[in-house]
């Protein structure tokens, strides 16, 4: 079992002022490492509207590379404005995953639209930054990964990686909507696609990670990290209904693979669980693993899926 030493809540969005689009939530952290700081992208929300509905934006916080708890800056604006009328990302851009592409930074993000019969649909978009990840512009007004026969709706949670000169995108795909307590909830599973150019994607069209707690288990945040000759995936999973509390809420799972195609799920190795008390005592979700100066860290969300921000854990030893 891996041993993660929790270092505590790192960023609390409710303490940020002067940004009406950043009131609460700091979800789905994703890092971009610079010479002297670490930029962490996350997704946040202004207050809910009169109908109780949220939109979501994504932005970043810069951390001192020598002391990650030293916050040296917060984005002045969201990384993208919301999409135009009728587009897939009109009501939210969450989550976002970033990667360097030469001197540019590419972002793959999930865009949210609102539907009549179910509350929302989600699709994956692409944006490019030419100023080091401060501002981005869309590569097009539509999504980069279309729906398909086997992935009919709710394509979300992109994680962009590059291995061996090839682009890989891990994401989740909805497979059904389930009615529970008068509310439609999507069931989604972890999927993968690869690409030569980052634009045209060849998808595997199958669930990568077997379900463990129930057939309709929802899986999210497939964060893949290569270390010691093996691919490691930390992700989160929860029950399909009644998941907004501790008992059936998100936990962090783990799988490994030698070839990125076949994955062996071994949650018992994940090595990180809810705390006895405090900000991460009810649920753990949206893990993101990164290496920095010889150490391996995980950023993750706690209770209420990041309403009060994200925290940091440090691996004792290495991923092998």
């Amino acid at each position: 079992m891996f041993e993660w030493k929790k270092r505590g809540l790192l960023f609390d969005p409710t303490g940020v002022s002067g940004r009406d689009w950043l009131k609460e939530f700091a979800q789905a952290p994703a890092t971009l490492i610079f010479d002297d700081f670490v930029r962490v992208y996350f997704s946040c929300r202004p207050p809910a509207d009169a109908n109780g509905q949220y939109v979501s934006y994504s932005a970043y916080v810069d951390l001192n590379r020598n002391n990650l708890f030293d916050i040296i800056g917060v984005a002045e604006r969201p990384f993208l404005e919301l999409g135009d009328s009728g587009t897939f990302d009109e009501f939210g851009t969450y989550p976002v995953s970033v990667i360097r592409d030469g001197a540019d930074v590419l972002a793959y993000y999930a865009g949210w639209t609102r539907c009549e019969s179910v509350p929302f649909n989600v699709a994956i978009g692409m944006a490019r930054s030419t100023d080091g990840g401060v501002t981005f512009s869309r590569c097009g007004p539509g999504p980069v990964l279309p729906y398909s026969q086997d992935e009919p709706f709710v394509l979300s949670g992109p994680k962009i990686r590059r291995f061996g000169g090839r682009w890989y995108l891990w994401y989740i795909a909805g497979r059904k909507w389930k009615m529970a307590a008068g509310r439609a909830e999507p069931v989604y599973k972890i999927r993968m696609a690869s690409s030569e150019d980052g634009v045209n994607w060849n998808r595997r069209g199958r669930d990568l990670i077997e379900s463990r707690i129930e057939a309709d288990e929802a899986q999210a945040s497939p964060d893949v990290f290569y270390s010691d000759g093996r691919y490691h995936m930390f992700f989160c999973y929860r029950y399909s209904t009644d998941f907004r509390g501790k008992a059936k809420g998100y936990r962090i799972g783990y799988a490994h693979s030698d070839d990125m195609e076949t994955w062996v799920r071994e949650d018992s190795l994940a090595g990180i669980e809810v705390s006895e008390s405090g900000w991460d005592s009810e649920m753990l979700s949206y893990p993101h693993v990164f290496a920095l100066d010889g150490r391996t860290y995980m950023l993750y969300l706690g209770n209420a899926v990041g309403k009060r921000g994200f925290g940091l854990a440090e691996l004792q030893g290495r991923l092998a």
Binding site: G86, T87, P141, P143, Y147, Q149, D150, W177, P186
Partner: protein, 319 residues
């Protein structure tokens, strides 16, 4: 080119339709059998929960002269998609074809949105009973939908194998526009093209409107149908202004035409379509949703008239 009108050949109000549908027979499209012609169309059921419509697929079988009706489908041809699916609130239109001895169809599925009225996508369904019923494959998602440069409203598929490859002509949305005198945003869409080796994996001419505009940038173009005759390919489609087009007959749908020698480059020449509004009657205010096909060595066009096909469809024969 000259089309001789044979008049309206199907009025949905005169028939018992499946799914409790009472009006509309939109976008007629054919599957020609040895001794009859099956015409699929979309008809409408009132959704009691919202007061809005649900579009369902039905068909009517004609003798091969397209005069005598043999029967109307008595059961559901293709059920609507499940909760949250792209085709949950309607299938309109359906484009049937035979390939390798199998009957299949491409569909345009509709699902409702909140900020705009609707989103569409293109599905593919197959039939094991010669087109009496169709079913979905996989998890029932679309085979063609929104992409980077075609952000929404991908629909109206027309698929044929030409020169050894699957070709699809379809529409894609370019903008939802709020006009000053309108209550809600209106859509603008253009005709696009994609090719495929297997009919499932499609390669778009991404974001390219392949037929030029006649009414300016706010022209909407829909429902392409393509046929080869006279040594070239002919495309018929319908086009209209994107605002005030429902009741102002000067701004409503007309039938356009373009021709091509290579399936890629199209020259628009609506003046050569050879068909226009009648002075009076069922197709005197609007003409839309053309479908061109060959039967008994004649070339026919099915189309809808006034009110988007509320009162059925008619036929014309190429002279």
């Amino acid at each position: 080119m000259k089309w001789r009108k044979a008049g309206r050949i199907f009025d949905p109000r005169e028939h018992q339709l499946p799914n409790g549908c009472v009006e509309f027979a939109q976008s007629p499209q054919t599957l020609v059998f040895d001794d009859f012609v099956r015409v699929y169309f979309s008809t409408r059921q009132r959704d009691d929960t919202t007061g809005k419509y649900l579009s369902h697929v039905a068909f009517v079988d004609f003798d091969k002269d397209l005069r005598r009706i043999r029967r109307v489908s008595g059961q559901t041809v293709l059920p609507l998609g499940g909760l949250g699916s792209f085709d949950e609130h309607g299938i309109f239109p359906i484009n049937p074809l035979r390939h390798d001895g199998r009957v299949m169809a491409y569909t345009c599925g509709w699902s409702r949105r909140v900020s705009v009225s609707v989103e569409t996508g293109i599905g593919r369904v197959v039939s094991d009973d010669d087109g009496e019923t169709f079913y979905r494959q996989g998890l029932g998602g679309p085979v063609l939908g929104a992409s980077l440069q075609e952000p929404f409203l991908v629909g109206d598929p027309f698929v044929r194998v030409f020169e050894g490859r699957f070709h699809m002509w379809y529409m894609f949305g370019t903008r939802w526009k709020q006009y000053e005198d309108a209550d809600v945003p209106e859509r603008i869409y253009k005709i696009g093209h994609a090719v495929s080796d297997d009919g499932l994996q499609w390669e778009k001419q991404e974001g390219e409107a392949i037929v030029g505009d006649r009414l300016g940038g706010d022209e909407s173009q829909a429902l392409p149908t393509v046929i080869a005759f006279g040594g070239r390919y002919h495309m018929y489609f319908c086009y209209r202004h994107s605002s005030d087009f429902r009741s102002n007959q000067d701004r409503g749908y007309r039938i356009g035409h373009a021709h091509s020698g290579d399936l890629l480059h199209w020259t628009r020449d609506d003046g050569d379509s050879g068909i226009d509004l009648s002075p009076q009657g069922w197709d005197s205010q609007m003409m839309c949703y053309p479908h061109v096909f060959t039967c008994n060595e004649k070339i026919y066009m099915l189309y809808n008239g006034n009110a988007f096909g509320r009162e059925g469809f008619g036929l014309a024969v190429l002279e």
